[in-house]
Point group: C2
Chain length 672, copies 2
């Protein structure tokens, strides 16, 4: 196979014999500067405009390969309206892939097409037949032995026909056309000028359920600080709820200088534990474990226990230092120093965060700094961690993340990076482009119907869907949104269903969510008595928590492929603006899910929802079953428009799976 150069035009300006044009190749992010994202086995559908001057037919094929292999694999492309050609490939292993498009004038196909037209118009085509035989002869010369023989045999058969009708029929055989298109004149083949990258991740990059908790609050009894061993004891409960990623806030030593007290007080009392994000003390920095939590060995055991339960552990990567971090003494050049000799604290004027020093990424010794920080992630990857939730990545240079994630994924292509960025859209998307696997989102503050619809359109219907994988969190230790402060259980239920069904990646800051904690610092979206600044204890045996609902939703997610992806999402027409309805289907179109959510957290709402029977090729004359997996109720529906009713005090949503082959099932259910 040929290797790719830059555009033919660049090397051989105006090459007159390469007439085909390839343009508008999609997906293509910023002229190929950044990769699209897929998981192993996931479809990559590539489109291109392929055309030429004149009336000649063209032929296009898709080229793709793992980046570290030299040979292209090919996949067929099919022509559609307006010169659009489409092809599909599926990467079959982790790591970077590239793809591009190759095309040429389909000289033989054009000839076949014209031959038929002339013959049918009663013209003598003997000279035309000879032209075609010459074409076959040329291709035979380019083909390897066996195909060359095949082509020559076909040509001989056509040439020997005495009856012109029969010769035309044989010469216009479609298999002959296909064989000819394997051996185009290479001087007339054009390859698209860019090779477009793909990052291929493992399945959990696309489908994951995250559970966050503070190990120091994990003690079995109140009053004592929890340890990694205590946290390990909680893992079976987390697994039973159906989560697959256990995410811990930083577990490193915490600084003492300017340590924050409870509720973010400027001064701490001696027994205040400090914020886990004020990383580093005498006991060590980003590669150390807080002695009160345990040892590296305890952490290894924690990881193993999670793995044994089918889960994995995500670490918090927060690149900032307490004033006591060893880096401050060892690498003063990695911090900003003020003219008076004091170190620059983190601040967002006029606010100050005295327990944290930001790292000075623009330092002249940035190469050493970047190397060291990359080493931190590699250190934990060596210990078995493959998921990293990165704190505030939008306050560090994009090029730094490009560097770090590139290095880590070169060694651990299964690594997952979740960006904890809540900032302007361009910054969020740039982080995704430079390598973050998943990202936090604005979902946390999207409550009204139009807000949700518009945001989901941005995420699923634009180029963003190619590189940005949302991870929906209804709460985090930093954010107790207003909707959860004031609307009680219906709010917690609704936000959970929305997060877990709109996005295939979602997570909760767990203990407080299960228990529906809603007490906030007055006028703010900050938890009162936040675990960030003190040790809490959660009574997990309490009745009335959300645990059963969480468990059910996670099971539904595991059992329905439609919910294991985010891109195939369609909002449905519904005649009540307080109800939100959407549908998802899996790639095979065998699993159809319809979700109807009551966005009115106070009143019963009802309406008629339109089921997309046509899109899913369902027969509108046949009844079908809508099985609500949340309530286990089953409805026999028929036709597009169907009635729904939801009482927020009882259930926030319908989560229907539709069954197409209904007749037998219906009889069965009906008479049971």
């Amino acid at each position: 196979m040929d290797t790719l150069a830059r555009t033919d035009m660049d090397f051989e300006p105006y090459h007159g014999r390469r007439r085909v044009v390839i343009s508008g190749v999609r997906p293509e992010i910023d002229a190929g500067q950044f990769p699209i994202k897929r998981i192993v086995g996931e479809k990559v559908e590539v489109e291109a405009w392929v055309f030429s001057d004149g009336h000649d037919h063209v032929f296009a094929e898709l080229l793709y390969r793992p980046q570290d292999q030299a040979d292209w694999r090919t996949a067929p492309m099919e022509p559609g309206r307006n010169d659009v050609w489409t092809g599909v490939f599926r990467p079959d292993r982790l790591g970077p892939y590239v793809y591009t498009v190759r095309a040429w004038i389909d000289v033989f196909g054009t000839w076949q097409h014209d031959l038929v037209k002339k013959f049918e118009a009663g013209q003598d085509v003997s000279v035309d037949l000879q032209i075609g035989l010459n074409l076959i002869g040329e291709a035979a010369g380019r083909a390897p032995e066996r195909d060359g023989q095949r082509l020559r045999l076909s040509a001989d058969e056509v040439a020997e026909q005495t009856e012109q009708a029969r010769a035309v029929e044989m010469a216009t055989d479609e298999r002959l056309h296909e064989l000819m298109n394997r051996y185009p004149d290479p001087s007339k083949v054009r390859t698209y000028e860019r090779q477009l990258p793909v990052t291929v991740d493992r399945e959990r990059a696309r489908f994951s359920s995250w559970y966050e908790f503070f190990p120091r609050s994990a003690a079995a009894e109140p009053g004592t600080p929890g340890t990694l061993a205590d946290a390990e004891a909680l893992l079976p409960q987390v697994a039973e709820m159906g989560f697959d990623v256990v995410y811990l806030p930083p577990i490193h030593p915490i600084g003492r200088t300017h340590r924050k007290g409870r509720n973010n007080a400027r001064t701490a009392s001696p027994d205040d534990p400090g914020s886990p994000w004020a990383i580093g003390g005498e006991e060590g920095g980003h590669k150390a474990i807080h002695p009160e939590l345990g040892t590296l060995e305890d952490f290894r055991r924690f990881i193993q226990a999670a793995n044994d339960l089918g889960m994995e552990v995500a670490m918090d990567i927060a690149f900032q230092c307490s004033p006591d971090h060893p880096y401050v003494k060892e690498h003063p050049d990695w911090f900003k120093w003020r003219p008076d000799g004091s170190v620059q604290y983190a601040e967002n004027p006029p606010k100050k965060y005295e327990d944290i020093l930001p790292i000075h990424f623009e330092t002249e010794t940035w190469r050493e700094l970047w190397e060291e920080l990359t080493g931190v992630v590699l250190f934990w990857a060596e210990k078995g961690v493959r998921a990293f939730r990165v704190d505030n990545p939008h306050t560090k240079p994009f090029a730094f993340w490009d560097y770090l994630i590139g290095r880590v994924k070169a060694k651990y292509p299964d690594a997952i990076f979740l960006a904890e960025a809540f900032t302007r859209p361009n910054v969020m998307y740039r982080l995704a482009k430079v390598g973050f696997t998943q990202s936090y989102t604005y979902f946390t503050w999207r409550n009204a119907r139009n807000e949700i619809v518009e945001y989901m359109q941005d995420l699923t219907r634009t180029e963003v869907a190619e590189h940005f994988r949302p991870n929906f969190w209804p709460n985090t230790p930093d954010i107790l949104p207003q909707v959860l402060q004031f609307s009680g259980r219906p709010a917690f239920m609704t936000r959970l269903v929305l997060a877990a069904t709109l996005s295939s990646n979602y997570g909760i800051y767990g203990p407080v969510y299960e228990q529906m904690v809603s007490a906030a610092v007055a006028g703010r979206e900050e938890y009162l008595d936040s675990e960030k600044y003190e040790i809490r204890h959660w009574d997990r045996r309490r009745a009335g928590t959300l645990v059963p609902l969480i468990e059910r939703i996670n099971r539904i997610r595991r059992e329905n492929a439609a919910l294991q992806q985010t891109r195939d999402l369609h909002f449905l027409e519904i005649d009540n603006p307080l109800l939100l309805a959407y549908a998802k289907a899996d790639e095979d179109e065998t699993n159809f899910v319809v979700v109807v959510v009551n966005l009115d957290l106070h009143h019963r709402q009802s309406g008629w929802v339109r089921i997309p029977l046509e899109r899913w090729e369902m027969d509108p004359s046949q009844p079908f079953m809508a099985h609500d997996l949340l309530s286990d109720d089953r409805y026999i529906w028929q036709g597009e428009w169907n009635y729904v009713e939801l009482d927020p005090q009882l259930t926030p949503a319908h989560l229907f799976v539709l069954r197409r082959r209904l007749r037998r099932e219906m009889d069965f259910d009906y008479f049971m």
Copy 2:
């Protein structure tokens, strides 16, 4: 000024100190592969997303220059919502320009912003002031002498202030900020990785009125073949009608072999003149003039006469040959030969065009061929022709046009190429991208309201507007559209108004349009007794022609800048679907035109049209005058919604110019 390299990333991967990001630069055609188009003095508005990690402010400026000059000129950019920065420049001469964007972290601006916040929060800012003074000192070191002194003086003044409030005030001066941003740290400046091209044409590329006629039909009296001298005698009439481009079908010798007879008959009688597009005979080829039309000297005189009347001459460039063309003997390798030794005629199976041989652009000697054909255009350019209407460019390779137009415009940057392409959208647009100045369009077949609206949205609201300049023709010698065959005078009037007001470039195949010739070959869109195959004579003194309407419309176009551009077009709400209403304004927003067209060619229609008062910053409480330049009627309107009524037998359209400063004018008109 610095020169541009490819992306910084490419040369110095992960440069840690260059934190600013520039992306989404628009307009940008196919990653900068093709130029946008403008005329001299026309605005180029450039947008880019410019942002950085963190909370630092950024600063961006637009760079542009004529391609042949090394030094960049700069234009300011202004930040808008969501990190979008916008800047404007106006190319001031013909030929290629390039532009790009340069940006950096606005360190000093960020510092000023934070300083004010801290000071206002009551913090001591003495150390912060020192940081700022250090920044000023560094910039002073980079600045040339005078600005260096200015910066040092400012720093000294701030340093000497004993009162902190006063020091803060002086340090946060906006002029100081501007001065600082002239001398950013070059190691932290990023320039966008691509230089984006602009083709700068003369005004007629954007605003032109074309008139096509056959010189051989131009004789003063019927029965004799017209000459270039006869054609010259018609020029004053064409100029009086207000056209500025006189376009002649090919004026070269016509082949005799397989010459077509009247109405495209397969055999010609001896006195049939043949199709002018069957170019070449014993008398010469593409550089010769048909002896019956005159001499090269006559043609020069014709050009001069047109120029003297404020018009220019457009030639027809049809790269195809009659079998008698000198090329056929001299360069047999430029044609396709069949296995039986015969030459390949033009055909579109099963149709044959025996009077024309297509040129074989894929020939192995394509370089010589392209050189020769480019020479044809250069030959006529040397004779004073600067406008070329190119016949069927979509049947020749795109790379060929790229080559030819590039060569010609390098020598004659004022050359205009009109593509006579009626084919698939991608092919049309590609021809524009590779260099055609203007193009024929689908307008000829767009009659219904939604067809016109959708097509105009494609042309004005998408990237197409950046490179594709439409030229609207209601008819051509090849196309007598159905609407003109069956709907009489109202159709000719309506189509003329639409062409001349929707598009700033338009043209008519004149004599038959003036006389409203509607006789077609049965069932086809082909003129009966077409001038393509015979000599006709048109009685220009006949009463009742469209000449007065044409003259009036061309005058209105000349007097209203709003109609001299196509991109600023907005369809207006109107409550009758048979009426089409649209508005145009010039770049200065001093000329406001509203057109209302009755698309019902048979019945009187009326309705209420909504005038975009808000867009044009007109006071809705003030009456204003709508002056119909077609009828010369004046209406006093007030408010957004106003009544219109059109009878197709009387007038096809209103062509209002709106006058904002109405009060005085109204009084004046009113009492006259």
